[in-house]
Symmetry: C2
Subunit: 157 residues, 2 copies
C-alpha cells in the first residue's frame, strides 16, 4: 500500500478553508472526512456521534458550526426533509436524491438533468437567473415494498 503524508482530501479542505478565510482544525477535518465518506446523508447528530470516535471532546455546537461552514464553502450540501432534522451530503458529484416514503431513507441517484431540460426550465422561469437545482425523487426503496398496485406515475407539484 502506498501512503502519502497528506491525503488529497485534506489538501482540498485546507485550501478551500484558506481561500475563504477560515482555519484548518482537527474538528473541521473530522467532520469533513465523515460526511465525505458517508453514503447515508447523516444528520448533525449522526455526524456528532460519528466524529466523537475520532475527536472525543467535540461538541454538538462545533459540529453544527463546521457543517454550516462546509456548506458555505461548497464542500457539502444541506438536505432538508419535511420531517425531522437536516441532513448533510458530502459527495459533490452531480446526482439526485431519492427519498423512501416508507423508511424515510435518502439514497443517491446518479445523473443530472439534460441540457434540453435545463434550457426549457430557463425559458419557463421568466426573469429568474438559474444557478443550480435540486431534484428529489419520492417513492419506495428496494427494501420497502410499495403499497401494492400503485399506478406508476411521477407528478411534480
Amino acid at each position: 500500500m502506498k501512503s502519502s503524508g497528506t491525503k488529497p482530501q485534506e489538501t482540498l479542505l485546507r485550501q478551500t478553508l484558506q481561500a475563504s478565510g477560515h482555519r484548518y482544525t482537527e474538528q473541521r477535518a473530522a467532520v469533513f472526512r465523515l460526511i465525505a465518506r458517508s453514503r447515508v446523508h447523516p444528520t448533525a447528530e449522526d455526524v456528532f456521534l460519528g466524529v466523537r470516535t475520532e475527536v472525543p471532546g467535540i461538541s454538538l455546537a462545533t459540529v453544527y458550526k463546521s457543517l454550516e461552514m462546509l456548506v458555505g464553502c461548497g464542500l457539502a450540501k444541506k438536505l432538508t426533509p419535511p420531517d425531522g432534522s437536516a441532513r448533510y451530503c458530502g459527495r459533490m458529484e452531480p446526482h439526485h436524491h431519492a427519498r423512501c416514503l416508507a423508511c424515510g431513507g435518502v439514497s443517491d441517484v446518479a445523473g443530472e438533468l439534460g441540457n434540453l431540460e435545463i434550457a426549457a426550465l430557463r425559458a419557463q422561469a421568466n426573469g429568474f437567473y438559474l444557478v443550480g437545482y435540486e431534484l428529489e425523487l419520492t417513492g419506495y426503496c428496494s427494501d420497502c415494498a410499495p403499497p401494492m398496485g400503485t399506478g406508476a406515475g411521477a407528478s411534480s407539484n
Copy 2:
C-alpha cells in the same frame, strides 16, 4: 354573473375530507382557501395571520394541524427550505419551485419533467419505485440582481 350557493372548491374539500374520514370545519375551509389562493407559499405563521381575518379565534396549533391534514389528503404540498420555517403550497398543478438566493422568496415555474427524463431517472434509480418528484431551482429572481458576472451554469448535487 352566476353564483352557486356552494363553490366547487368547497365541494372538493368536503369530499376529500369525508373520503379520508375527517370532518369539514370552518377553520379547515379557511386554511384551504387561503393556501389555494395564495401565490407566495406562506409559512404556517403567514397562514395563521391571514386566516385570522376570516376566523378571528383560530389558534396557531389548529393551523398547523389543518395544514398537515391537507398535506396528508393531497390538497397541499409542504416545502422545506434549508433555512427558516416550512412553507405550504396549495396549487396542485404540476410545477417547479424557484428559490431566490438573495431574498429567499419561492416562486412557481410552470412545467414538468419530460418523459424521457423520467425514464432515465427510473433506469438510474435501480430498484427504487418512483412515485413523484420535486424540483427546486435556485438562483436569483427578477427583483434581485445576481452577484455580477456569474458564469451561467446549473449544477445538481
